[in-house]
């Protein structure tokens, strides 16, 4: 369970997040939606420990975030990852990063982890590129590498920041099907997304954010009223036809 208690986040004089009180139960498939600049990525960075809240507390499994992070980690897929395209790593090397922090110093990544990584890469449809240099991967292929890495980390929480970015529309459905399988297997999935149509089908817990929280519950439907409250009255829900 993840709890945000009275969390505020300011960047200089600008308020990015205000009065965030949020409880995400275990086992949900949660979606964070909101317009650009709503603070969605910031909310995730606060959860991951990449930023500290200006005020308030974050509890994970009833433990303060920093204490929890000492012994646990998240499976995370960032919106963008900065890397040097000439970096001497293969796709498999990057996937294995998901487990590297759990292997003691001085020990190499064992064959059992390599096999597990390749199995996950098969599920995410990127196994044939396992030995390709990362500089030779397309944006969509690298996105699958990052998803494989997040899954390999074997955290009970899978955090995704716009996982559909860079992936063709047809593949988005396969991507979410895979996330649903992981969710059914017991993982808590938290995803930032702009693809409201797809979210509607897969998510069972909605977090509507626009600096403050507009809703967070087991919403069955994303309707126009909710869109108005979160995005402003001039937004319209447009259904994508895959």
């Amino acid at each position: 369970m993840i709890e945000f208690q009275e969390v505020q986040y300011h960047a200089g004089r600008i308020t990015i997040l205000k009065d965030i009180n949020l409880t995400i139960p275990d086992g949900v498939f949660a979606a964070i939606i909101g317009p650009n600049g709503a603070g969605k990525s910031t909310l995730i960075k606060l959860l991951l420990g990449m930023e500290d809240p200006s005020e308030g507390k974050i509890l994970i499994d009833n433990i303060p975030r920093d204490s929890w992070l000492k012994h646990n980690g998240f499976g995370y897929l960032p919106q963008r990852e900065e890397y040097d395209r000439g970096f001497p790593a293969t796709a498999l090397d990057i996937v294995l990063m998901g487990i590297a922090g759990r292997i003691p110093w001085g020990k190499r990544v064992g064959d059992e982890y390599r096999e597990r990584a390749l199995k996950i890469m098969q599920d995410t449809g990127i196994k044939d590129k396992a030995n390709s240099a990362i500089g030779n991967l397309s944006g969509g292929e690298f996105q699958r590498v990052m998803l494989s890495r997040a899954i390999l980390s074997d955290s009970k929480y899978l955090i995704l920041d716009e996982p559909e970015a860079g992936i063709d529309r047809h593949s988005v459905v396969n991507f979410f099907e895979l996330l649903k399988e992981l969710n059914d297997a017991g993982k808590t999935v938290i995803t930032v997304s702009h693809d409201l149509h797809t979210l509607n089908k897969y998510c069972n817990f909605l977090i509507c954010l626009n600096k403050t929280l507009h809703c967070h519950d087991h919403s069955e439907l994303i309707d126009q009223q909710l869109i108005d409250r979160t995005f402003g009255e001039h937004s319209r829900l447009i259904e994508k036809d895959y």
């Binding site: 992070l69 980690g73 995370y76 890397y83 970096f87 998901g98 590297a100 922090g101 001085g106």
Partner: protein
């Protein structure tokens, strides 16, 4: 061959190895300017040690380590751009060094050997120190191979995936500082920078796995130290500068064999 030449030759090889082991990481992390900055920052450390009567190498190492950790900490915690922090410390250290040296009454001190290096002046104890440092370097890289790999790839993501980025980064800078300071006498402030880049860029042209890149970087450093030393001896030209010219020549040659992607 005179004894001091053999000591100097061993010194030149060990000096090349110690910088070549770090060169791939310095290049991958795009902190080659850090090598240059730390070499200049050492100038103030040497000056402080000179004034206080401390061992010059130890004084410089302590000073450079403190500044390196401060730069790393300020850049991460206060989010000041690393390039700005480094420039501030570099200028301040050079200024401090010049003022302190001018105040020093120790006229016998040969500052130019620290600026341009002279491997022929290296002592047996300094060769031992370089040898021991190389053992630490190799142990550090063997123990933290995967951690250094992911830290160089993307420190922010490495931290998310529970790699002890802060601790390993601090150890990295402490060892880098020690390598730079111990090499100042043989390679000099100016040539240390070149030796922290050239072996790595040669290796990047020839290999695509980090393990091989480090190995080739070390081999390139040894070969250029031996050839450079021989040429400088035969032609009676400065050793450190000749080694760097040989490295640059090997770098040009490496393009012929550059790996295809």
């Amino acid at each position: 061959m005179p004894g001091f030449i053999i000591v100097a030759l061993i010194g030149a090889v060990l000096s090349g190895i110690s910088l070549a082991v770090f060169a791939p990481y310095v290049t991958l992390r795009r902190i080659s300017y850090m090598g240059e900055a730390l070499s200049h920052i050492a100038f103030a450390g040497i000056a402080i040690a000179l004034i206080s009567g401390m061992n010059l190498t130890l004084g410089a190492w302590i000073f450079v380590s403190i500044v390196a950790l401060l730069i790393s900490w300020l850049s991460r915690k206060e989010k000041i751009q690393e390039a700005n922090t480094i420039t501030i410390f570099l200028s301040l250290s050079m200024a401090l060094g010049i003022v302190l040296i001018s105040l020093s009454k120790n006229y016998a001190f040969d500052l130019s050997s620290y600026l341009f290096g002279n491997v022929l002046l290296i002592s047996i104890s300094e060769v031992w120190a370089l040898g021991i440092l190389n053992v630490f370097n190799i142990l550090f890289i063997l123990i933290f191979y995967k951690e250094l790999f992911y830290l160089s790839y993307n420190p922010e993501m490495a931290k998310v995936f529970r790699i002890r980025v802060g601790l390993i980064d601090h150890l990295f800078y402490l060892l880098l500082a020690a390598n730079i300071v111990l090499n100042l006498k043989s390679a000099g402030i100016i040539l240390v920078t070149a030796q922290l880049i050239l072996p790595a860029v040669i290796a990047f042209n020839l290999a695509k796995k980090l393990g091989w890149i480090i190995a080739i970087s070390v081999i390139a450093a040894i070969v250029s130290a031996l050839i450079g030393f021989y040429l400088s001896f035969v032609l009676d030209i400065p050793t450190g500068a000749t080694i760097v010219i040989v490295q640059a020549f090997i770098y040009a040659l490496s393009f012929i064999f550059k790996r295809r992607k």
